[in-house]
Symmetry: D2
Subunit: 141 residues, 4 copies
């Protein structure tokens, strides 16, 4: 948003997210089920940063279906906090991959988690990740 920009190095991509009122619950903090949405923003911007978008990927006929999700909650985030989602890839294989996420408010770790995905084609069958894309995912264009 204002001031903080999307950053990256070879290993990770950082994207800022401003906590919305809708994201909070009556405990006054970000609802535990909001973080999977922040993760989705993280991996979406990861791919954009590497040179193609997840939307383009889908338009080619593929999906990265989520098969596992895990989150560890360390600290609470509050309305209007400016969080940073740091996304990286581990376990990149021919048919799937795992995204790792760490969400910070300044130096404070809020949550960390990962999502494991498999690649499926138009027929919803497991598929090889197109090889050109594999390279981009790791190295960028």
């Amino acid at each position: 948003m204002e001031g903080k920009k999307i950053g990256s190095n070879n290993n990770f991509v950082d994207v800022p997210i401003r906590v919305r009122y809708a994201d909070t619950d009556r405990m006054g903090i970000v609802y535990y089920g909001t973080y999977p949405i922040y993760f989705e923003v993280g991996r979406s911007e990861y791919m954009r940063n590497k040179g193609f978008t997840y939307r383009e990927f889908e338009e080619m006929g593929y999906n990265l279906v989520v098969v596992e999700l895990s989150i560890r909650y360390h600290n609470s985030a509050l309305y209007d906090d400016l969080l940073m989602v740091r996304t990286s890839i581990t376990d990149l294989k021919s048919r799937g991959l795992t995204f790792n996420y760490r969400i910070f408010r300044d130096e404070t770790l809020i949550v960390e988690g990962k999502t494991k995905h498999i690649c499926v084609n138009r027929d919803k069958k497991p598929s090889l990740i197109p090889s050109g894309l594999l390279q981009v995912l790791v190295n960028g264009e």
Copy 2:
């Protein structure tokens, strides 16, 4: 859920909704943007009660696209409240209709609102509502 059942007469259909923690915000009440979702549940159960489901309607190649929404907020609803969504139809026309909603907690009116819809076909073009369905919407089967 427990105890309260879906009721109806010729004019309206009542459906209970239990407020989820996810529906609340840090003010401790149901987030203002949650009510359109409750409305969707109301009109979905209205159609089921009249004898066909909105899912079947979509499978026939139609959508009831929302073109207008309005809500007036009268009172707050809280986590775990058992609300009643009362849905009726007004302004049923050949190419569209308006759903009306009133949401209560016991005798207390929480919100009231309406959604105006037009019928579109597979090509996303405005379409006549299939005549058989028109009858069902008003009278039930």
Copy 3:
């Protein structure tokens, strides 16, 4: 909703959830981040079934803060599906517990997961779960 009721035995509580349009995404299936909300409904109804509500628990000054979440996705759920959330407790300890969830559409397992919680008091400090409540959680009243 209609027909299916909340069931339970000593070990688990079943609660039906109708998939809302809002719960789906453009893949045409339930969004992966919707399931933590279904889990919340599951544990909320588990507690109600055992004889006190999570709302009462909070009104006594306690929260069951989520510290870990994990989900394995087996099959897709669709709009208007009537799902069954089966919730049980494992690892009940003096200061926390784990809820387990399995979500079915008829005999088909859609997802399974768990949430690990610790009990905190009004000062947001880790706290013993009140002993009376501990008993209820396991045995019901």
Copy 4:
């Protein structure tokens, strides 16, 4: 996010929003109930742009409670679209105000709407908007 920045003039504030996967539904477009959340982002950034945040406003003991919402839907928005929310204030009074919103994708108007708010104090009673804040809302600091 990348490239487009928050802009403003005396009359309105523009804020970009990237459509998330979570925001879409099985029709493949942004769910109709997502727009109230985008409106919330719009008015939140409007206030930040004028020199104080809604979070600070709440910390002073006030809330701008929503009493009315209306939306007209003109065109669909899609996953990954970069939308622009243009927010302005009309009908600023001593005890309340109305925010107006127009959401665009490039030159295409997606939706327009408004939310009417009243100011309440810590006791949830209607209250005068603090006079300093009134000025800021209109003119900026």
